[in-house]
Symmetry: C2
């Protein structure tokens, strides 16, 4: 049983930020979250910051005390958590454990990444290091290549089509149109996705999430204290994390992520509910195929039904299981270290009826699915309306 | 109040390992710790791994699930914690919070670094990224340079001498002679330190800790369960973490680390004791001046007395306050991500009377002081004999 609530949230716009550096991006998000929680920086006792690799993107290690200080929280316990693209979900989970321990009362979980300081080739090379350097990245396999392999496996096993993959991108771009913090504000069509420049067959440019800068942060307290801070806290009722093999060659199959299945089973158990009880979800659509696999791993659809489901519109806002109402990684953007917390922030806004045109009606329970690397880490969080 | 105990520990020899890579080093340490705890890998529910920058040292991000899998623990929640040279102390602390939360019962905290894959200049450049890239490293200030500035400030304020700095190195090399896992097994003299190649005045080569490979891991459980695993667990009765400014120019002075003072005050309070109650300590002697500053920040000696104290032999094994009985970072070696947990392992062996010739007699309470960067992070842990 998890007894932690979100009482404030802040997120920068995702995209290319030439005007802010890493510490400034984090401070913008953290200070918004702090203000929304009705506290000051003095009220924060610890921060956990997700970041994939400021080391390689910005030539800066040890970012947690750096961003804490710049955001006005010098002195607090400041820890960076890293699990590739699931970094800030592991930071969120560490923050939850910290609150559950009773040693802290008010904690910030956040994440930040400033990727655009490197040229695209450098970003691709850096991200590849989140796969197995010895068996994959060192042999030339990059992330689009790895997910292309998974896509081919899914197509072969279930008959999934490129049009179904494209439907993920089309939906998520549509959702992003009503998210002012999303990187892309542009409708696209299936034809546009299919005719986009090929990256790694069957994944074209529009099957891939973009390179982004951005930060996200939430203020967390124990649920029993939450109403002291806001009239509309959002409860976290499930938090689970699992790992899997880094390299594809050690896996039982290529069309599912075992860590996602394991973590979601644990989170459902904690929250005492099942896949059918989830009203909407933010899932890790780093590539279009990843969203289809996620909706199957999470039990929303049977294996092989994820592709048809998105093509039939069953995951749109207003349909039976809205997925990535924020625009997802694909269209909201994917500053990798910030993504996990940003997913939870979408739940927070939906569960407070603050999601504007993309609001899911009668949203009561939402889930986030944040994947590190190609599935070696998966974190699941489940949130509930107060 | 902290209620966590160590029930198993494992550490590789520190030094240059050409025969093992990162994952192999960690597996050696973790599997020794697991065996000592009398469990199997199946009994471990989560691991927290400290690592400064496999990104830059080994072109590998996302190391936690990688090392977990290779050590036989695929599936467990696996999180990397990074706070520069205090990375594994923050991993230890995250593991303690995880146990205190009640969500896990058996957790591994460890750390690993494989630094010698890079040439020395690359290591120095990488470590410099743990200082402020914008205001320090980017301007050419490296770690020896930063600690040299602190040493000069300490000399100016208190009259600390180069001979006193050298006494730290001489003592720690002596202690390492009876630690088979230490990198250096060689007595040195004050003259040898003073005549060693100058790195950044007043710090010569023998004032600096070496470049090292190595790993360390401990198995942790709640104290009430500890006797199920071993007849001689070691209790952790204090765990505190604080942050300070990354760059020197934002500090009140250069001869003390505020984060160390803050974290030690908090840890003493948790453990309901004071500096005088600490029988021995492992402190962060990345440079000789750092040990002197540490013994003052921790309250073992008054400001300015740290230099005379070491010169007078007051910190030797057998004297009033043995410091760095393991050989310290200076002579045991400093594979940065492994150091924090390795410090605690020295406490574990001392408190179980397993320290051989370097055994502190009647050791009842020990303390570790692990610093990240130039003091932007400090973690303190206090351990007690069962």
């Amino acid at each position: 049983m998890i007894n932690v609530s979100i009482v404030g949230a802040g997120q920068t716009k995702f995209g290319r930020h030439t005007e802010y550096d890493l510490r400034e991006l984090f401070a913008l998000a953290a200070n918004d979250a702090i203000a929304e929680a009705g506290i000051t920086t003095k009220g924060v006792q610890a921060i956990f910051v997700g970041n994939l690799s400021a080391d390689l993107f910005n030539r800066q290690c040890h970012i947690a005390p750096l961003v804490a200080d710049f955001a006005g929280m010098k002195g607090v316990a400041a820890t960076r958590c890293e699990a590739a693209c699931a970094s800030s979900a592991t930071a969120l989970r560490a923050a939850i454990l910290a609150l559950e321990s009773g040693l802290y009362d008010v904690v910030i979980a956040g994440g930040v990444e400033k990727m655009t300081d490197l040229p695209t080739a450098g970003v691709v090379e850096t991200l590849a290091m989140a796969a197995d350097q010895t068996f994959e990245a060192g042999a030339g396999l990059t992330f689009p290549g790895i997910f292309a392999v998974m896509a081919v496996a899914h197509m072969q096993k279930f008959g999934t089509t490129r049009e179904q993959l494209a439907a993920v991108a089309v939906k998520n771009h549509h959702n992003a149109m009503s998210n002012p913090l999303a990187q892309f504000q542009q409708e696209i069509t299936v034809d546009k996705v299919l005719s986009s420049r090929m990256v790694a067959w069957p994944l074209g440019l529009f099957d891939c999430s973009p390179i982004s800068d951005g930060a996200a942060a939430v203020v967390l307290v124990r649920t029993k204290d939450a109403r002291k801070y806001t009239d509309a806290p959002v409860k976290i009722i499930g938090s689970a994390q699992a790992s899997g093999s880094m390299n594809l060659c050690d896996r039982e199959n290529l069309h599912t992520l075992l860590a996602a299945k394991q973590a979601s089973a644990e989170a459902y158990k904690q929250a005492k509910l099942d896949a059918k009880d989830i009203d909407f979800a933010e899932v890790h659509d780093c590539f279009t195929i990843a969203e289809i696999i996620a909706t199957e791993d999470l039990g929303f659809f049977k294996p092989g039904e994820g592709g048809p489901a998105v093509e039939q519109g069953r995951t749109q806002v207003g349909a039976e299981k809205p997925i990535n109402t924020s625009g997802g990684l694909k269209a909201k953007g994917h500053p990798v270290g910030a993504t996990g917390v940003a997913q939870v922030i979408e739940l927070y806004h939906q569960l407070r009826n603050e999601a504007g045109k993309r609001q899911v009606s009668n949203a009561d329970i939402g889930l986030t699915h944040n994947v590190g690397g190609t599935g070696a880490t998966c974190c699941i969080h489940i949130c509930k309306r107060w």
